[in-house]
Structures are given as structure tokens and as C-alpha cells.
């Protein structure tokens, strides 16, 4: 058992932290966020140059064969800087999915394009009625000649409006909420019949609703076995949860630092508010919640390669515990910042919003807690 980072991982950590320090502060983030894509093309390019965009891919596809712990290290640093680049959407979710289930040809085509920064991806899976249930898919893929015609409504696809390609789930069999019968497809964002409505998210990122109006797809666009897309999606989402957990820890570390700093400087009743015992103990509690979340992020990274049942159970638990920590740390950070915490001008609110949105992403605390509790072992 070992909880330390390797020397390479320490170096990776420093690299990403330096990138964040050099390229990010709250004003520049506002600017990146206001771009049509919702992020900085230049930062994306730099991330490609640093090898981050191929980190988890096999070397033959331009990657570095990075582990889940490597991803954790990167995401924690991105969280700490509050980065808006679509690393999660493109590299972790879609890249990871292709790496896991794509054909040789698909991997050769797409993974190296992701790694080089040429191409971005979004996962268009969730649907309006589905809430967080991954099997709740109603979009249809009707056989049409050699290929398929896709129809349906996908919602809140992260960075779906700037993605070059989409990975879309649709039913080739079964009824809504059946585990079987879901198939995954590679769809070019500019394909005929794909209608993308992009919008900003509350935390300054981007998402899109995607309506598929009879989109024609050839057979080679199928990812993974026909009708067996659900376990692929589940693995991809669990990798994303692991990444989010690490990001959340980076966010919380920064929140704690900002709050401590504020508590030292903000004077009320003739002394710094950090001198009040109630404020001190609250910050101590925030710190403890963050340490517990850090442990969960580490568990996530170390259990992502387990078999499906064990992995799903652990990751559900990670996300549930994380949600609890994030809620407490986020809410209390605003409370301790008082009125200043309510302003868009201060940095703290932006971290708070990201943390709040992480709980809305890939299953909220309740959803994940239920999944965890339902598989309670001895």
C-alpha cells in the first residue's frame, strides 16, 4: 500500500500547476469563458504541447499511457486554477471512452487528433427525462441500409457546442431504462440533422442540448458492440467521476486558502474575523471535509481499474461523499466571506459555483448515495 506520488507524478503536478499560475487568474478566466467556445484556444494548444491532451491514451495513439493517478494529479491542478478548457469532456470522457471501446481505426483517427489538440469531443448521452440514470435512453437508432438513422434529444452535453465530434447514445433495441440495447455512435457535429443549442453553464463553462433530427450514420461509426453501450458509458462516467473528484479537491483547497486569507484580512469589531473561535472552528471543519474528500479522490484513482461491480460501487461512494464535502465547504466559504462572497468580483464565488455544479454532474449526492447503499456489502 502506498499513498505517495511517483517522481514523474510530482513533475506532472508541478507542470500543470505552473501552467495554471502562468495562464489563469479570475479576470483572465472571465475572458476565456466569454469566448464563443467558452475556453482559450491558446491554453488548449499549450495543454497539447505539454502532452496533457493525450495523457491517458496508449502511446501508439499519441498518448502517454497515463494512469488514473496521473489524471487525478492533472485534474486537481486544473481545479485549483478553475480551468475552463474541455479536458474532462474531450480527453477523459470521450477520449477515455474511445480508448476503452473504439476500434483500431477509430482510435487511430481520433485519439491522436485529440492528443494533438486538433479535435474536441463531447458526450451527448443524458436526456431530459433521465435525470442521472445512465440507462434512461429513449433516443432511437433505426437501421437504415448499412447504417443508422438517429433521432432524439440529448441534454447538457458538456462543451457540446464547440465540439467537433459527438459521441451519441441511442437505442438499437429495448425500451427506456433497459440496460441492454443502447449503442454508441460517433457523429460529426456538422452532420446533417444535428441541431446544437449551446449555452453557458452557471459555473462559467459551456454545455449544449443536441437534437438529432434523423441523422444518417454509417456502420463504421458504431463504438463498441451493438446494444452493449451501457457498460461502456458507465466506465466512461466513472472515469469522469474520478476526475471530478480530483478537480473538486483542487477547488476546495483553493477555497480554503482564499477563506483563510480573507479571515485574516477582514476586520470587524476591531479584529480580524479569523480571530473569532466560531470562524476558526468552521474553517477547521472545512479543512477536514477537504481532507476526507482528498482521500475519496485517491480511492477513486486507485479503484478505477477494478472490475465493473467493484468500480461502480467505489465510484458511487466517492461521488456521494464528495458531494457532502463540496456542499459544506462551498456554502460555508460564502458565509464566511459575508457580503463580499456574494459578489461576482471576488474569486470565491466562482469556485463555489464550480463546486456546486460538480454535484449536478454525473449524479448528485442522493443519486450516488443510493447506488452505493444499494450495493452495501458485509
Amino acid at each position: 500500500m502506498d499513498l505517495s506520488l511517483s517522481d514523474d507524478q510530482k513533475l506532472l503536478k508541478e507542470t500543470v500547476e505552473r501552467l495554471m499560475q502562468d495562464n489563469y487568474d479570475i479576470d483572465r478566466r472571465r475572458k476565456y469563458s466569454a469566448e464563443p467556445t467558452g475556453y482559450s484556444a491558446d491554453n488548449w494548444r499549450q495543454m497539447a504541447e505539454l502532452g496533457l491532451l493525450g495523457l491517458p491514451f496508449e502511446e501508439e495513439y499519441g498518448g502517454f499511457g497515463g494512469s488514473a493517478v496521473d489524471v487525478m494529479v492533472v485534474m486537481e491542478a486544473l481545479g485549483s486554477g478553475l480551468a475552463v478548457e474541455p479536458f474532462l469532456a474531450t480527453v477523459i470522457l470521450c477520449g477515455g471512452l474511445l480508448q476503452d471501446a473504439g476500434t483500431e481505426a477509430q482510435k487511430a483517427t481520433h485519439l491522436s487528433a485529440i492528443a494533438s489538440g486538433e479535435r474536441t469531443f463531447a458526450l451527448a448521452h443524458s436526456e431530459p427525462q433521465a435525470r442521472y440514470a445512465l440507462a434512461d435512453v429513449t433516443a432511437q437508432a433505426a437501421a437504415a441500409g448499412d447504417g443508422f438513422t438517429l433521432t432524439g434529444h440529448k441534454c447538457v452535453a458538456l462543451y457540446g457546442d464547440s465540439a467537433d465530434w459527438l459521441i451519441v447514445s441511442a437505442r438499437t433495441a429495448g425500451t427506456p431504462r433497459d440496460a441492454g440495447g443502447i449503442t454508441l455512435f460517433l457523429v460529426a457535429a456538422d452532420a446533417a440533422g444535428v441541431e446544437v443549442t449551446g449555452y453557458q453553464t452557471v459555473d462559467g463553462q459551456r454545455a449544449a442540448d443536441v437534437v438529432l433530427n434523423g441523422v444518417s450514420i454509417t456502420a463504421d461509426a458504431v463504438v463498441g458492440p451493438l446494444g452493449e453501450g451501457l457498460p461502456i458509458i458507465e466506465r466512461a462516467v466513472d472515469r469522469a467521476i474520478g476526475a471530478l473528484a480530483a478537480e473538486a479537491v483542487g477547488v476546495m483547497d483553493k477555497i480554503n486558502a482564499l477563506t483563510l486569507d480573507y479571515s485574516k484580512n477582514r476586520q470587524q469589531f476591531g479584529r480580524a474575523i479569523g480571530e473569532f473561535q466560531v470562524v476558526q472552528h468552521r474553517m477547521t471543519d472545512m479543512l477536514m471535509e477537504t481532507e476526507q474528500a482528498r482521500s475519496m479522490a485517491q480511492i477513486a484513482a486507485m479503484t478505477l481499474d477494478r472490475d465493473d461491480d467493484a468500480r461502480a460501487r467505489e465510484l458511487a461512494g466517492v461521488k456521494a461523499r464528495l458531494g457532502k464535502a463540496g456542499r459544506f465547504v462551498g456554502q460555508e466559504s460564502i458565509q464566511l466571506h459575508g457580503g463580499m462572497g456574494m459578489t461576482d468580483e471576488m474569486t470565491i464565488g466562482h469556485y463555489f459555483k464550480r463546486l456546486t455544479m460538480i454535484d449536478r454532474t454525473f449524479g448528485d449526492t442522493d443519486h450516488c448515495m443510493r447506488r452505493y447503499a444499494d450495493t452495501l456489502g458485509d
Binding site: S126, P128, Q129, A130, R131, Y132, A133, D136, C155, V156, P176, R177, T197, Y199, Q200, T201, V202, D203, A207, D209, Q267, Q268, F269, G270, F276, V278, V279, Q331, I334, Q335, G338, G339, M340, G341, M342, T343, D344, E345, G349, H350, F352, K353, T356, M357, R360, T361, D364, D366, M369, R370
Partner: protein, 398 residues
């Protein structure tokens, strides 16, 4: 002890309901239901209806236009207005400066300002908080210095709600820098059109701009802008805040929001069934409903306990604390009910003229911003930490 309304109260309730049915614009009520922004014109229309009915300042003495209602009638009125989805009236004139002027203002001030408050001709804003003076209000630094027949005011106010719409401000300024902090403060009332006043909106984390910085740069106001006596402003401010206590628990508003939550949880799906049938979510609704039920009785107990000496019930701070917890919790559950669509930021839902449709359920566009905005409830008017400090003294006697 009896939870039932007596026959007079029932009759009064029916009268209020009839009035609401008749005068409340259903379109405005719809907007309230969706937590969308209510425009100044819409608020004015509603305040005008109340004014014409003679119900705009129930809390004022009858001779100044008050209604003479009992505590229970006021409570019923608030309850019915909230339940019908009536917009909030703007309290700065009606509940804040109005009663202060009635109690401490000159005859001239009363004659000049009170009718215009009642008729909504003047909108007021509150100049209390300053960048360095939040919880510790008495440390405020905005100065007012006497210069002949005028006062010259310099400083900065912040968190000034709706200052962009206000005609008048009531403002605490330091008039004796050498006295103890609380002893050297005076209260002034003056027009927002006075030269030297600059209003700058503050964008809040929900994307809204309801609050402002107000810069006061050599603002010259006449001698009669002073309310009551010089250097007595702190006690007027305390009187003002104690008057605010009546509805501070915001029980009627929370009951309304809880109903919205149940509606929405009945529409939203989870695993193909209404979310409200999910036991975890049901239990969370039940939990906050019980908190609110208890708070409703606690609130009534405090309000019906009218003290002979007019001092505020020391449990008032509890109403603020528990009221804020309930409001924040309900708006958190509303955001949760929305699921993944809670991520979408769609401020155009507030804009009647926008022609971009919202994504996700139409009742949902403002729920996350509302949650974010509601974080302020445990901060403004004295943070919950300050309220606990107050209770430590007032209730525990420590």
C-alpha cells in the same frame, strides 16, 4: 391553545383572497412562481392596487394610513399574498424608514415623505452598509459635516438594494468622529438626485445586479435632511431593524416555495417515476416541511407575545436564523429537483423581450440562480453568526 382561525379571521381571510383574485395580475404571479425577476412597473402596479385598497402600510398607525389590523390579521394578509404569488412590496419605505419617520421625524418630514411613500411616488433605498462595515455596522465611516445650513456627506455605501430605481435614500453617517462608534452616528434622508451621488451596480454570483455601490462625493443636503436628533442615528437604526422583525422568518414565503417544490418534484422524473416518489427526496422535503411547520408556530408564539415595554422578543434572532435556513434549504432542493439542467445559465428567462427559448423545463431556468442568490439570506441584516451572538446575550444572558 387552538390552531383554528376564528370566524372574524376567516372572514378577513376571504376578503384578502377576493382582493387578490381581483387585483393580482396572473402573469406576475406566474413569474413569481418561476422565480423570475419582477419589473419595477409590475411592482408599482401591485403597490398601487394595495394603496388604493388602503392596505399598503398595515404596520403604520391608523392616523398615518395604517390598517389597524391585529397581529393575526397581518399574518393572514402576508400568508395569503404569498400563497397567491403576489410580488414582494419594496420594504425600504413601508417597513423601514416610514416607521422611523413616524416615530422620530419632524412634522415637516412626515408631511412631506409619508404620503409619497404610501403612494409609491418615492422609492427608497437604504444607506447603512459600507465596504468595511458589514457585521460591525457601527464602524461605518461615511462622514456628514455641517457647513452652514447644509450637511456635506462623503463616503461610500454598499449592498444598496435597488438603488438604481430609488428616488430617496435614508443614510447613516458619522457626525461625531470623536465619540464612541455608536454615539457619533446620525440619520439623514435625501434625494438620490442630489449632485455627487453615483450608483454603480454590483454583479452578484447569480448574475443579477439588484445591489449597488453608492458613492457619496461632497453630497450637500439641507439641514432638515437630518432625522431626529444629531448623533442619535444608531438608536433610530436599531428601532428600524426591530420593526423589520415582523416578517423576518418569512414563513408565508417559504410555504409558497415549498408548494412549488412539491409541484416541481411531482413533475420531474427519476427512474421514470415522479421525483417526489423517490424516498430520499421525499424525506428531504418532509424534513424541511417539518422545520417550517415548527417555525410557523415558533414565529407566531414570538409575534403574539407582545411585550408591554415594546422591546423586541429576544427570540427574534432565532426567527432570522431558522427562517434563513428554511429558505436556503428549499431553494437548494429546488435546484436539486432540476437535475442536470441545474447547470444551464439562462438569464434571458428574466427578460420578457428575449426571444431565445430556455432549455430544460420552463419553471427551471432561474432555480440555480435563485439558490445562489439565496446564500445572501444568512448574511444580510446581520449574519447568522451575529444573530447567535445576539442570542447569546439576549437569551442566554452571557
Amino acid at each position: 391553545m387552538d390552531l383554528n382561525l376564528n370566524s372574524e379571521d376567516l372572514a378577513f381571510r376571504d376578503e384578502v383572497r377576493a382582493f387578490l383574485k381581483d387585483k393580482l395580475d396572473p402573469k406576475v404571479a406566474e413569474k413569481v412562481a418561476r422565480s423570475e425577476a419582477i419589473s419595477k412597473d409590475e411592482i408599482l402596479a401591485w403597490q398601487k392596487a394595495l394603496y388604493e385598497q388602503g392596505w399598503i402600510v398595515p404596520n403604520w398607525p391608523v392616523e398615518h394610513g395604517g390598517t389597524g389590523w391585529s397581529v393575526m390579521q397581518r399574518y393572514i394578509f402576508d400568508e395569503e399574498c404569498a400563497a397567491a404569488g403576489a410580488p414582494q412590496t419594496i420594504s425600504f419605505g413601508f417597513s423601514m424608514i416610514g416607521p422611523v419617520l413616524i416615530a422620530f421625524g419632524s412634522e415637516d418630514q412626515k408631511a412631506r415623505y409619508l404620503p409619497r411613500i404610501r403612494s409609491s411616488e418615492d422609492w427608497w433605498c437604504q444607506g447603512f452598509s459600507e465596504p468595511g462595515s458589514g457585521s460591525d455596522l457601527a464602524s461605518l465611516r461615511t462622514r456628514a459635516e455641517r457647513d452652514g445650513d447644509e450637511w456635506v456627506i462623503n463616503g461610500q455605501k454598499t449592498w444598496t438594494t435597488l438603488a438604481q430605481h430609488a428616488d430617496m435614500m435614508f443614510c447613516l453617517c458619522r457626525t461625531d468622529p470623536d465619540a464612541k462608534p455608536q454615539r457619533g452616528i446620525s440619520m439623514f434622508v435625501f434625494s438620490m438626485n442630489t449632485p455627487g451621488i453615483t450608483v454603480r451596480p454590483i454583479r452578484t454570483i447569480d448574475g443579477g445586479t439588484e445591489v449597488n455601490d453608492v458613492f457619496l462625493d461632497n453630497v450637500r443636503v439641507p439641514a432638515d435632511a437630518l432625522v431626529g436628533e444629531e448623533n442619535k442615528g444608531w438608536s433610530y437604526a436599531k428601532y428600524l431593524l426591530s420593526n423589520e422583525r415582523f416578517g423576518i422568518a418569512r414563513v408565508p414565503q417559504s410555504k409558497y416555495q415549498l408548494k412549488q417544490l412539491k409541484n416541481i418534484a411531482g413533475i420531474q422524473l427519476s427512474e421514470g417515476a415522479p421525483l417526489i416518489e423517490d424516498r430520499d427526496f421525499r424525506t428531504k422535503i418532509a424534513d424541511v416541511e417539518l422545520e417550517l411547520k415548527a417555525l410557523e408556530i415558533t414565529n407566531l408564539r414570538v409575534m403574539l407575545d407582545v411585550r408591554q415595554d415594546g422591546t423586541p422578543n429576544p427570540l427574534s434572532s432565532m426567527l432570522k436564523i431558522k427562517g434563513s435556513e428554511v429558505q436556503q434549504r428549499i431553494s437548494e432542493l429546488l435546484m436539486e429537483a432540476l437535475g442536470p439542467y441545474g447547470l444551464a445559465y439562462q438569464p434571458h428567462a428574466n427578460d420578457d423581450t428575449a426571444n431565445t427559448p430556455v432549455v430544460g423545463p420552463e419553471f427551471g431556468a432561474m432555480l440555480t440562480p435563485k439558490y445562489l442568490n439565496n446564500r445572501k439570506i444568512s448574511i444580510y441584516g446581520g449574519t447568522n453568526e451575529i444573530q447567535r451572538n445576539i442570542m447569546t446575550k439576549a437569551v442566554l444572558g452571557l
